[in-house]
C-alpha cells in the first residue's frame, strides 16, 4: 500500500544534494541576456523614446520598444482556453507599452552579451513621459472624470451579482439581528524564492523552445502563440524544477517576450531573468479588496443571510481579473450553505502592479471579511464563537445553492471540534476573564473556510497521464501536471504504485514537463492536481495493469482474470503467494520476444466532470502586548478535511507553508503603494516583511479524513486552503483579547497602534 504513507518525496534527494536543476541552472553557448527598461512613474504616456545611443553600445544585440512589438493585445492569465468568448480573459497587454500603468511597467527591452552591458544600455535609452494622474484609491479609479487606464474600460473590468438560496428580503426581515462590517485587505506578494526566469532559442527545425519557471507549460505555449501570432505547434515549453510559484507562475509573464526576442534575433539563446526588485512589482500580486458584508441572524444564532459587496482592484493589467473575486465568492458559499447568499462583485483597474493568482485565489480576502463578521455576530448574540460556527456549519447532504448540487463530504464540523479540543478551547475560555485589563492580554480565535478542488464547472479540467513499462519492470509516469514543490509527483507515484500493485520505488516520474513530451494538462493551480490529475493517473494505472495481466495470460496461457500484480510480481489473485513471474521477466518478453508483444504502455486523457469542496479551520491562542502593539501566537492549529490524505508528511508540509503565509499576511506583509503617486516603497524582501523563522510560531496541524466518492482515492484539495484562515482567526483572537475589531490587513504594529490609540488603550 503506497497511498496513505509518508513516503519520501520523489525529488527529495535531488533537492538536498543540490542536483535539482532550475531554469537558471542551464545555459547555452552564446547565450545573451535581456533586460527591461521599466517606467519610473506609475501613470504616463511615452511621448518620446530614443534608443540610438543604446544600440551603438558594443555588446548590444538589440533594443526594442513599443514600436517593434506585435500590436495585438493578449491575456496573460493561466487559464485553459475558453470556447465561450464571454468567459475569456481580458486581453489588455502588449509585449511593451507606450503607456506606463504602474511604477515598473515595461517600456523597452535590451538584449546584450552580459548583465553589465545590459545595465549600461538601459541607461542610454532616453524616454520622455507625459504624466497622467495615478489612480490608486478606489474612489479615484471610479471617479466619473478619472482617466481610463485602458481605452473604453471605464476602469471597470467586470461586475456581477446574484442571490441564491431563497427570498432575500423575507430572510432579512425575519432576522433578529443585522450585523455589518467593512473590510480592507492589502496587496501581498508571493515571494517565492526563485524569481521569474525564462530563456528561449530556436531549434534546428525553426521552432521556438522556451525553458521557463512556470506552473502552466501547456497554457504558456498557447498564450505565446497568441501573443506572437506564431503557430502553436512550433512552440515548445519546458519546465525544469521550479522554486515556488504560489500562483505567480500561473500567469504568462516572461515567456512571450523571450520568444519574441529570439524570433527577432535569428534564434540565438536569450535569457530574461528578473531580479528580486523587479519580481516584486513586475510579476503579479494579490488583489486588494474592499468588502462590505452584512449578515442576518436569528436570536437563536441561526445564520439566515450572508450578503456582501466586494470591490477587487486588479492593478495595471487584468491578468486573472474578475475571476479572482467571482471564484472566491462561489467557493466561500460551501461553508454556510443553508444561509441565503447574496453577492455583488466588481473588479477595477488601478495604477499599481497587476494582481493575479495567488494561493487561495481571492478566498483569503473574502474569508477574512466573512469570518470576521461571523465572530462579530457570535459576540453580539453572546454565543461562543465555536458554538456559533458548529450551529451553522455545512453538513453532508446540504445543497450548494449556486450549483444546486448536494454536498457529499463535509467534515467542517469535525474540524471545528478537533480544533477546539487541540487548543483546549473550553478550558481556556473558562479561565479567560472578560473584559481583560493590563498591558498584556490573551485571546482565542477561530475561523473556518470552504474551498474547491479545481475549477469545474467554471473552467474545463483536463488531465492526462502516460505510463510506460520499462524493461526492468519499473514504470515511467509522464504527466502534464507540474511539480512546483507541493509534492504532486510524489502523490502521483503513490497512486500509480497503489493501483498497479508495484512498489513506490519502482515508479519513476518524469518530473520536468515538456510540451513535446508530457501529455496535456492545464497545470498547477486551483489545488486541482491531486484531485483532477489523480483521476487520469488512476485510470492510466488500471489500464496498464489490465494490459500487463492480459500479456501475462498470453505468456502463461492462464486466464488474466485470475492473475494480479503484487509487489512487482504477477501472482495468482486468490492465493497472492505464488509468483507466476516477475514484472521484469514479463516486460523483457514483451520488448524482445520475436513473435509477440511490444512495449506495454497506457495513456489516458480525460476531464474532471465533478468538483468537491474541502473544509477546515484555524484555531489560535495568542497574547497581545498593547504598549508594544505586538502579537505573540502561543498556539495555532489548522485542521483540514482534504478527504483521504495520500501522503501525511507532505500534506502536513502544505499546511505549515500555507499557515506561515497566512500569518505573514495577517501580521506583517503589505506591498506599500503611495496613494497619490503610485510609488512603491518596499520592492524588496528587507522592507517587505516576508516572515523569517523568527516570526513564525510552532505550527500544528490535523486532519479529518472524509472519503470523497468522486475521487478514486477519496482525496480533495489541500494546496491552497491552509492560507485561508490564519488571518481572520488572529483578528478574532485580537478582538477577544482587547475588544477591538481590526477590519484591515495587515495587523502590523502600525495598524494596531492606530486602533489602540483610537480606542483609548494607548
Amino acid at each position: 500500500m503506497a497511498v496513505g504513507k509518508s513516503v519520501q518525496r520523489k525529488d527529495g534527494v535531488a533537492k538536498v544534494t543540490g542536483k535539482a536543476r532550475y531554469t537558471d541552472d542551464f545555459s547555452m553557448p552564446g547565450m545573451r541576456v535581456a533586460k527591461y527598461l521599466r517606467s519610473p512613474i506609475a501613470h504616463g504616456r511615452v511621448v518620446r523614446i530614443d534608443t540610438t545611443r543604446a544600440e551603438k553600445l558594443p555588446g548590444v544585440d538589440g533594443v526594442f520598444t513599443f514600436h517593434d512589438v506585435p500590436k495585438n493585445t493578449f491575456a496573460t492569465a493561466g487559464h485553459p482556453f475558453s470556447l465561450d468568448p464571454e468567459h475569456g480573459d481580458v486581453a489588455d497587454r502588449l509585449l511593451l507599452t507606450d503607456c506606463a500603468r504602474f511604477q515598473g511597467d515595461e517600456v523597452a527591452v535590451v538584449v546584450t552579451r552580459d548583465d553589465m552591458t545590459a545595465h549600461k544600455a538601459l541607461s542610454l535609452i532616453e524616454v520622455e513621459y507625459e504624466n497622467l494622474k495615478p489612480l490608486i484609491r478606489m474612489q479615484d479609479v471610479l471617479a466619473h472624470d478619472a482617466p481610463e487606464l485602458h481605452k473604453r474600460s471605464r476602469n471597470l473590468i467586470k461586475e456581477h451579482a446574484y442571490t441564491v438560496g431563497g427570498d432575500y428580503k423575507k430572510a432579512i426581515e425575519e432576522s433578529d439581528h443585522l450585523i455589518e462590517g467593512v473590510f480592507e485587505t492589502q496587496i501581498v506578494q508571493h515571494c517565492h524564492l526563485e524569481n521569474h526566469s525564462s530563456y528561449a532559442y530556436m531549434d534546428d527545425m525553426d521552432r521556438i523552445v522556451i525553458v521557463s519557471s512556470t506552473q502552466i507549460p501547456h497554457i504558456a505555449r498557447r498564450i505565446v502563440s497568441e501573443a506572437l501570432n506564431f503557430p502553436l505547434s512550433r512552440i515548445r515549453v519546458i519546465k525544469p524544477h521550479i522554486g515556488g510559484g504560489f500562483g505567480n507562475k500561473q500567469d504568462v509573464i516572461l515567456e512571450p517576450m523571450v520568444a519574441f526576442l529570439t524570433l527577432k534575433l535569428g534564434g540565438i539563446p536569450i535569457r530574461l531573468k528578473l531580479n528580486r526588485e523587479e519580481c516584486m512589482v513586475g510579476t503579479r500580486v494579490r488583489h486588494p479588496l474592499h468588502i462590505q458584508v452584512k449578515a442576518g441572524i436569528s436570536q437563536e444564532g441561526n445564520l439566515n443571510v450572508i450578503d456582501y459587496d466586494a470591490v477587487s482592484n486588479t492593478g495595471a493589467y487584468a491578468s486573472h481579473g474578475h475571476s479572482i473575486v467571482s471564484a472566491a465568492a462561489a467557493k466561500t458559499h460551501y461553508m454556510y450553505p443553508r444561509a441565503i447568499y447574496r453577492c455583488r462583485a466588481r473588479t477595477i483597474y488601478g495604477n499599481f502592479p497587476s494582481a493575479g493568482a495567488m494561493r487561495g485565489y481571492g478566498s483569503p480576502q473574502i474569508i477574512f471579511a466573512v469570518e470576521s463578521l461571523m465572530e462579530d455576530a457570535a459576540r453580539k448574540l453572546g454565543i461562543d464563537s465555536v458554538d456559533f460556527r458548529l450551529k451553522n456549519a455545512v453538513k453532508p447532504g446540504d445543497i450548494n445553492q449556486i450549483g444546486k448540487r448536494p454536498i457529499v463530504t463535509a467534515g467542517l464540523i469535525e474540524c471545528i471540534e478537533k480544533g477546539r479540543d487541540l487548543i483546549d478551547w473550553d478550558k481556556k475560555r473558562a479561565t479567560l476573564q472578560t473584559p481583560q485589563t493590563g498591558p498584556v492580554r490573551k485571546g482565542l480565535g477561530i475561523a473556518c473556510f470552504s474551498y474547491l478542488s479545481g475549477t469545474y464547472p467554471s473552467c474545463v479540467e483536463p488531465a492526462s497521464a502516460r505510463l510506460i513499462l520499462n524493461q526492468d519492470g519499473s514504470v515511467n509516469l509522464l504527466v502534464g501536471a507540474t511539480e512546483i514543490g507541493q509534492g504532486s509527483d510524489t502523490v502521483f507515484a503513490q497512486m500509480t504504485a497503489e493501483t498497479l500493485g508495484t512498489s513506490y520505488e519502482k515508479v519513476h516520474v518524469v518530473s520536468n514537463q515538456d510540451t513535446d513530451v508530457t501529455p496535456f494538462d492545464s497545470g498547477a493551480y486551483a489545488s486541482r492536481q491531486t484531485y483532477v490529475t489523480g483521476q487520469a493517473v488512476m485510470r492510466a494505472a488500471s489500464e496498464l495493469k489490465d494490459k500487463i495481466l492480459a500479456y501475462a495470460g498470453v505468456i502463461t496461457g492462464m486466464n488474466p482474470g485470475e492473475l494480479d500484480i503484487d509487489e512487482g510480481n504477477i501472482v495468482i489473485a486468490k492465493s497472492r503467494q505464488t509468483a507466476v513471474m516477475s514484472l521484469k521477466d514479463l516486460s523483457m518478453d514483451a520488448y524482445y520476444n520475436k513473435n509477440r508483444g511490444g512495449q506495454i504502455t497506457s495513456e489516458v486523457s480525460c476531464k474532471a466532470l465533478t468538483n468537491a469542496p474541502s473544509y477546515g479551520c484555524t484555531v489560535v491562542d495568542l497574547e497581545i502586548d498593547i504598549p508594544m502593539c505586538k502579537v505573540k501566537i502561543n498556539e495555532i492549529y489548522n485542521i483540514h478535511d482534504a478527504g483521504v490524505i495520500i501522503n501525511p508528511l507532505t500534506s502536513e508540509g502544505q499546511i505549515h507553508g500555507g499557515m506561515a503565509m497566512g500569518i505573514g499576511a495577517a501580521l506583517f506583509e503589505v506591498l506599500m503603494v503611495d496613494p497619490d503617486s503610485g510609488r512603491i516603497y518596499n520592492n524588496n524582501m528587507l522592507d517587505y516583511k516576508v516572515p523569517t523563522i523568527m516570526d513564525i510560531p510552532g505550527l500544528g496541524s490535523g486532519f479529518v479524513q472524509t472519503h470523497e466518492p468522486t475521487h478514486p482515492y477519496g482525496s480533495k484539495s489541500l494546496g491552497e486552503p491552509p492560507v485561508l484562515t490564519p488571518a481572520p482567526a488572529i483578528r478574532n483572537a485580537i478582538l477577544d483579547a482587547t475588544g477591538i475589531a481590526i477590519n484591515e490587513l495587515p495587523m502590523n504594529p502600525k495598524t494596531l497602534f492606530t486602533h489602540f490609540k483610537n480606542a483609548g488603550l494607548l
Binding site: 509518508s6 544534494t17 515556488g244 504560489f246 528580486r276 500544528g700
Partner: protein, 172 residues
Amino acid sequence: MNRNISFTINGKSVTLLVDVRQSLLEVLREHGYTSVKEGCGVGECGACTILIGNTPVDSCLYLAVWADGRTIRTVEGETRNGDLSEVQQAYLDAGAVQCGYCTPGLIMTSTAFVEKNKDNTSISRHDIKRAHAGNLCRCTGYETIIRAVEQCLTPEKPNQDTHCKCKAESGE
C-alpha cells in the same frame, strides 16, 4: 580587471581567473556549483548560503577575490561516497523540502549549526531559530526545518518535541 584566486572547495583545490567585481555567488555558479542559488543577490534571503571555513556566508555579498586562500563548502560536497550527510537525511525525514530552492542554503546553515553544537545538550528551539534567521523559506513555514535540526541534535529520539503540541496531530 581580472585576478587569479585559489581556494579549496568541497575538499578540492582550485585556481580560477575572476573579474574582481564578481561576487562569489556568480563565480561559483559559473563554474558549475549551481546548488548555490540566487534569490535576491543582496543579502536578504540566504538562498546563496555557503560555508567559508565554518561560517555560513551569503555568497552574493562576498566578493570572489575575498575567497582567495579560503576553504569553502557547498551542498554538492556534503554527500560522501553516495551517502547523504546527517543534515541532508534529516531534511528528508522531517519533510523539510518542498520547492527546494532554499534548501541548499538552509542545509549549509544547519550543517554549521549542528557541527558546532553536536555536544551541546542545552540547545533550545529558540537557539535553532536564531541560527537560521538569515535564511528565508516561503514553502515550509520553517516548522519542519526546526524538526530536522532537532533530529540531528538528538538523533536517538527524533520524534520528540517538547515545545508544543504541534506534532500531536501531525500526519495521520
